[in-house]
Symmetry: C2
Subunit: 206 residues, 2 copies
Amino acid sequence: MADIPDRRARRRAETLEEILAIALEVMAEDGVAGLSLSAVARRLGIRPPSLYKYFPSRHAVYDALFERGQRAYLEAVQRGAAGAEPGLAAMAASLEAGARWVMANQALAQLLFWRPVPGFEPSERAYAPALAVHDHFTALTSAAIERGELHPDAASEEGQALGSSLIAGLLSQQLANEPGAAFEEGRFTRWVARLPGVLAAIYPPR
Amino acid sequence: MADIPDRRARRRAETLEEILAIALEVMAEDGVAGLSLSAVARRLGIRPPSLYKYFPSRHAVYDALFERGQRAYLEAVQRGAAGAEPGLAAMAASLEAGARWVMANQALAQLLFWRPVPGFEPSERAYAPALAVHDHFTALTSAAIERGELHPDAASEEGQALGSSLIAGLLSQQLANEPGAAFEEGRFTRWVARLPGVLAAIYPPR
DNA sequence: GTCTATAGGCAGATAGAC
DNA sequence: GTCTATCTGCCTATAGAC
């Protein structure tokens, strides 16, 4: 009978994931801040109070989504860089993988990077992967500098600020103006592949 | 007695402006999408139904804010450029004036440029000033090209897309990460004054 | 132009039966 | 883990008296 608790746990985990998937649907339709647990319950076919056996509050649902989202984004940018030589080439591949993930997960990306829910602050645990993302791109920048592809100033705080603004600007413009466009055809996402070249123009080596 | 209707009209106009000012306060506190007419009425000291003598719906309040916001932003970027020589210098001054306006009117700027209210589409009338803003920056880009400060490709559609993404990225990062910072001290707004130089590095003349 | 009263909703969250 | 019932509170919007 030792496996019965396992079955229960598995079933419970499935329901948890189902709730989060439906929450993403609702956010895509009604806006990230428009998430309502009642709407989630309706779509899941249960009554709103039953949801509270899985999440103690609406806030907790946001936090679970935030953590899973950060983890998935981290994995996307790491996998993107994995195939390429460290340096500008890996940075290009990683930025593109991240941008594709954002365009494929728009509601979640808004929750992660634009904080559109007044009063919601992610827990430390949920925020942790974001620090790893930062370290990842810092390492790629350092590698590019060591290979002579970028000026050392690119690793400064202001260089990092400009770099993150470049990708954030392209994506926020794409999301606001052409959210449905394919990645290759988007007026703004088209630039993502050329970002390392832009960085090199701003921070030329030597 | 011909002035009595004028007085009434003036009083009414004052109340309209007061309602919009309070609506901005509420949006700043509860998020742009969290605007509630009841909250506005409470702060104004009247009952919610009375508001409907001034605006027929919540949507109409957003639309009035959108139009006034676009006009104010247009005026800001035009005044910013007015004192400088047309070309890159005027573009720098205009971008900085616009960025300062955004940081000083954060809730309104979100309504104008990030569309955070599901279901709200501005009326044609309210959107009109945005077209004038576009023309304004297109003219400044052309002037910079004629003066030999930028490569002609900067005026292409992709050049415009990159330019608007650069400023949008800096501001969205500043708003998300350091909304209270002074313009000169902001990690991201500090870059605004150097944007024309960045553009020139990406699109060098000749 | 202000009010009261009200319609008709929605939401988050809890208590307690089964 | 599900439900019903309920509390409490919010909202947009309208009708109609004054």
